[in-house]
């Protein structure tokens, strides 16, 4: 870490927070420190304090911290409203560092820690002792903080201070609010569609505010939001689908490193991407079986109609321009085939590429009267990967797969124990891609139960083997399972 960068962030220097290029340098140095912290934390979970890898990585973390402490006086890592602050400046993550951010944030929160402050005089051995105690996996938020403090005292850690998480950081009713936001989005979109048809102004300010709320929910618990996209309302397919696309696009855009303002624009674009379908006759939209050529021609007009509607809206100026891109381009393929065909433009906007990926994913995982088979979420990713580079932008698709995981949230899985579960959260670390957290919904005998949340990365301490492994993904439709009910049940708790 660059000492001078951190020095600018010392508590005494906070009134002169860096801006512009200085802020960029600080971000770079801060993220480096965060990565070192993360690496040592992960190693400390697996190895004892005498392990070579632990010692080496601990040495590197200590070097960074010692240099920073010499310059800044103190180094404080703080959770504030779903983000991480280093000496009062917010750290920003990119697509490559999202997993580390999420992991460190979770590590602090699950231990009931709002801030960790490293103070001058911190020796390497003391840092290693701190990391070893901190990394223990059995900490839970309820009693975790007190026990953690006691353990640190017992380990003789004197130059690291912890601050207990405040009420402000413990968000109440998180899932319930997220689910309400989901349904509110449908209400608002329905109202927007119907206002458009009545030629009345659409409440763009409300949409924007809604998108901001969606962003906040994604920051707070992306896994639950992804879980909500399992909700499939077949009667209001377009509305439900548009909201799902909006949620997934915003989450994906966040992974890609888009700014908050860009994410709101992306969310709005995704939200209105199928506005043109209001002009497509319902008997075509819902026709069982194949469309005739004439019907297909009408169907394929919806991107154009959507874009046209948006540009003619009275509130057009308050809409992001990219909403028009997305409405018009979300059926144009990566190789520029698809529809509509431009006469001149030879590229497709980034937002359109993002929406295209999530649009197809949500569409093919939804049961429709005209399709013989809908795909499970895991199958959908595989099917889409086969069209990487032709239908989809390969890098965006890969980022999407990275976000969704090999077994996306909401995937119904059978475990090697015979239990059946629903993927509830992903393990952000690459080595554990196949080991998400699973809500057990049926025991080994097939009886439905309100089972525990099982972390598939957990091992039997005696045998060193994983306690549970995914044996196979299951088709929920085959077993009459409505995956979304399990997420809604969480919200109703």
């Amino acid at each position: 870490m660059d000492e001078k960068d951190l020095a600018k962030m010392s508590p005494g220097a906070r009134s002169a927070a860096p801006r512009g290029s200085e802020a960029k340098a600080f971000q770079k140095s801060g993220i480096e420190l965060l990565i070192r912290f993360h690496i040592v934390d992960k190693i400390a979970k697996i190895y004892d304090i005498g392990n070579d890898a632990f010692l080496e990585q601990g040495r590197l973390l200590h070097e960074s911290l010692a240099a920073a402490l010499a310059e800044a006086g103190e180094v404080e890592l703080r959770v504030r409203h779903g983000t991480l602050m280093l000496n009062a400046l917010r750290l920003k993550f990119g697509v490559g560092t999202y997993g580390i951010f999420k992991s460190v944030l979770e590590e602090l929160r699950t231990r009931g820690v709002e801030a960790v402050t490293f103070r001058p005089g911190l020796a390497r051995e003391e840092l290693l002792r701190f990391m070893s105690v901190f990394a223990k996996r059995d900490r839970k938020a309820e009693a975790g903080f007190a026990r953690l403090e006691a353990d640190l005292d017992a380990a003789g850690v004197e130059h690291v201070d912890l601050e207990r998480i405040s009420d402000e950081e413990v968000v109440q009713g998180l899932h319930q609010n997220a689910a309400r936001m989901f349904f509110l989005s449908i209400v608002h979109l329905k109202e927007s569609f119907s206002r458009d048809q009545r030629n009345e102004p659409i409440k763009i300010n409300t949409t924007r505010r809604l998108m901001q709320s969606i962003y906040n929910h994604i920051v707070e618990d992306e896994a639950f939001i992804q879980g909500l996209t399992n909700i499939k309302n077949h009667d209001e397919y377009t509305l439900n689908h548009s909201v799902n696309v909006c949620l997934l696009a915003t989450a994906l855009g966040r992974r890609l490193g888009l700014s908050r303002a860009e994410l709101v624009d992306l969310g709005m674009a995704a939200f209105f991407h199928d506005l043109g379908k209001t002009q497509t006759p319902l008997d075509i939209l819902n026709k069982p079986g194949r469309l005739t050529d004439a019907e297909r021609e009408i169907m394929e007009k919806h991107p154009f109609h959507g874009a046209e509607k948006l540009v003619l809206l009275k509130e057009f100026r308050r809409l992001p321009l990219r909403a028009i891109h997305v409405a018009l381009e979300h059926h144009i393929k990566e190789d520029l085939s698809g529809y509509p065909r431009y006469f001149k433009k030879d590229d497709v906007n980034l937002f359109s590429k993002i929406v295209k990926v999530v649009d197809v994913f949500d569409a093919i995982t939804t049961r429709r009267v005209y399709r013989a088979k809908d795909f499970t979420r895991a199958e959908a990713l595989s099917v889409m990967l086969e069209q990487s580079g032709t239908e989809f932008n390969p890098v965006i698709l890969k980022a999407f797969v990275n976000m969704m995981g090999v077994f996306p949230i909401g995937t119904l899985v059978a475990l090697t124990t015979g239990e059946i579960g629903i993927v509830r959260d992903l393990n952000p670390e690459t080595p554990y891609l196949l080991r998400p957290t699973v809500k057990i919904v049926a025991d080994a005998d097939g009886r439905k139960i309100d089972g525990p949340l099982a972390d598939l990365a957990e091992k039997d301490p005696v045998t060193g083997r994983y306690l549970r492994t995914i044996a196979t993904p299951l088709d929920p439709a085959k077993y009459g399972i409505e995956v979304s009910d399990y997420f809604l049940a969480e919200a109703a708790d």
Binding site: R19, L184, L385, I396, A399, N402, R465, A489
Partner: protein, 615 residues
């Protein structure tokens, strides 16, 4: 989760410990100062000394408080700010009340954290000012705070506000429906509730089919065979490919892919919104099959065109016209759409254009004349009138020079359009147009100078006459002859003086008819001299005979007019400058009329030696 930065109030209802009086006083003082600073900013610009002073003081007050307390949490009620449950600032005049300004958009709590510095305070104040100045339907302080994402100013705005707004908007729409006379009670009280029958999730069984059971058995066997090695979990990813096809790939993005993504995101940020919008609109027009729809899209584009013109952003209109012209070429086989595009292009030139530019000039906005004239250039000849209008309002010589240059370039192929730009109300431009017409190659502008024969402005006509006089050309002469009938004497005189005698006998006859007409004698001496001088310059025998006769006609009781005729004949003979003319003048120099004698003597003195005279 709430639509905010999401902090939850710890003691919003005043449940915290009793604050000490000094601290409360500090908060009161600070919030009063905040309100006063916002008021000052609504009156003065941000760099005004008064505002600077307010911001300095406010920053100091924040720093002073936060140095001790680390955080200031301000509760927001309809017209009141609270601190630890106690009212600390109130203003019940909704239109100016700062608490109400926050409250109306659902803001419940503001948090200020240690680290708040002057730039952040100023940004916060600017944000309030800007939002307050926006139209009500556009303004939302919570959305603005969210977007600005201050590091040390956070807020709490519960999602319930958004929920009630969305439901109210729906109810409002329902109320306007004619088929819905009254709002049902349950709808009026409606909120979104998430309900689920949890019992169905824990009752019953999931009986897997044999195929899935077989998969479990196989996977269990594989798990048993695995050697426990906590250090190498990554290998599992590849093995699991057969279980889930997506697992066959490692979805971790490579460095090259990360860089590709970064490039995409960066490039997305550098796209010109204007150009993208135009591109999209042109594509929409291309795709549109319905004429009414096409017209509507073009209208939207036209509106954008004028909007940009009004902002002085002339590059956008240039782009619009270029793209529409390009589309026009592409759809050459679609006459209906071609006509719409043609009509669109015509409409891009309208009095609104000049009004927009004039308005910019009135606002003393520095115009990018190059871009503006580039825009006119695309429009071609139809823009000449606009350019002419702007010439009169251009702020300086340089701008005028550019406009004239444009007019000359654009009007050259159609000089008739140039002469049409000459407006008596704009004599300066008219004189420049005369100069341009005169400069045009191959004398193509010459015939169009006749357009000035009926021009009311004397200076401009004289400019034309002088210009014509410099051109030895039959066409120029014909126009000059036309000017001999001008109501303005000076114009007639100058025209006569500039007339080229040439070789045309017809012209001599015309002037002789004029000179012998009854009215000629009534003209001034100067004009008579000018016309008879022209006659002399023709050096024709008829002219000599007429001039000699006129000089000799000396009635005993001659009038002033008769005298002037003779004096004018002297001038004509001087111009003739032949031996015969000299003889006639010598005779006149010894005549009985003193004035004639003197004139003839003076003329003979000035005359070159006969025979060497020009002509």
């Amino acid at each position: 989760m709430d639509n905010s930065q999401n902090p939850r109030p710890r003691d919003a209802a005043g449940m915290g410990t009793s604050p000490d009086a000094a601290r409360v006083e500090k908060v009161k003082d600070l919030l009063h100062y905040l309100a006063n600073t916002v008021s000052a900013m609504k009156i003065f610009p941000s760099d005004h000394a008064t505002v600077r002073n307010f911001v300095d003081q406010l920053t100091a007050k924040f720093a002073d408080f936060l140095a001790v307390q680390q955080k200031l949490q301000v509760g927001i009620e309809e017209f009141t700010f609270t601190y630890e449950g106690r009212p600390v600032y109130s203003d019940e005049v909704a239109i100016k009340s700062l608490p109400f300004f926050f409250f109306k958009d659902g803001l419940h709590i503001l948090y200020f954290y240690q680290g708040l510095d002057r730039p952040e305070v100023l940004d916060f104040l600017e944000l309030i000012k800007n939002e307050a100045q926006r139209p009500a339907e556009d303004s939302d302080i919570v959305a603005a705070l969210w977007e600005r994402d201050f590091p040390n100013i956070q807020y709490y705005a519960p999602d319930e506000f958004l929920e009630s707004r969305i439901l109210a908007e729906r109810r409002g729409a329902d109320l306007q429906r004619p088929d819905l006379p009254g709002l049902p009670e349950e709808l009026a009280r409606e909120t979104i509730e998430v309900r689920i029958d949890a019992s169905k999730l824990t009752q019953g069984r999931i009986d897997l089919d044999p195929g899935d059971r077989e998969e479990i058995l196989k996977a269990s066997g594989r798990a048993e065979e695995e050697t426990p090695d906590p250090g190498a979990p990554a290998a599992e990813t590849r093995e699991s490919g057969e279980r889930s096809p997506a697992a066959a790939m490692d979805p971790t993005l490579t460095e090259a892919e990360l860089q590709a993504l970064e490039r995409m995101v960066r490039s997305n940020r550098t796209i010109s919104a204007e150009e993208e919008y135009i591109n999209l609109m042109v594509e929409i027009v291309f795709l549109e099959e319905d004429a009414a729809g096409c017209r509507a899209s073009l209208d939207a584009l036209l509106e954008y065109h004028f909007d940009r013109l009004q902002r002085g952003d002339f590059q956008v209109p240039v782009l619009i016209i270029q793209k529409v012209q390009e589309l026009g070429r592409h759809i050459a086989g679609d006459p209906g759409k071609q006509a719409l595009l043609g009509s669109f292009l015509k409409r891009t030139v309208s009095p609104k254009t000049v009004e927009a530019i004039k308005s910019l000039l009135e606002k003393k906005k520095a115009l990018d004349w190059e871009s503006l004239l580039g825009f006119f250039g695309l429009l071609g000849a139809p823009s000449l009138g606009l350019a002419a209008d702007l010439y009169g309002v251009a702020p300086d010589g340089e701008a005028r020079h550019k406009i004239l240059d444009f007019i000359e370039r654009t009007g050259a192929p159609q000089p008739g359009l140039l002469s049409a730009l000459a407006d008596p109300a704009r004599p300066d431009l008219a004189r420049e147009i005369v100069a341009i017409l005169t400069r045009l190659p191959d004398r193509e502008g010459l015939p169009h100078l006749s357009a000035f024969l009926n021009f009311p402005n004397r200076e401009v006509k004289l400019e034309v006459v002088h210009a014509l006089g410099r051109i030895r050309d039959e066409m120029a002469n014909r126009i000059l002859l036309g000017f001999l009938k001008d109501p303005d004497e000076e114009v007639r005189i100058q025209s006569a003086m500039k007339l080229d005698p040439g070789e045309g006998g017809a012209r001599v006859q015309q002037i002789l008819r004029e000179a012998t007409a009854p009215g000629f004698r009534s003209k001034s001496l100067k004009e008579k001299e000018a016309i008879l001088s022209f006659l002399g310059r023709t050096r024709s025998p008829e002219a000599l005979a007429f001039l000699g006769r006129t000089l000799r006609t000396a009635p005993i009781f001659g009038s002033r007019k008769s005298l002037e005729m003779r004096l004018a004949a002297v001038a004509g003979l001087e111009s003739l400058a032949t031996e015969e003319a000299s003889v006639l003048l010598q005779k006149g120099a010894i005549g009985r009329t003193k004035a004639v004698r003197e004139a003839c003597t003076a003329a003979l003195t000035r005359m070159p030696t006969p025979g060497k005279a020009k002509g």
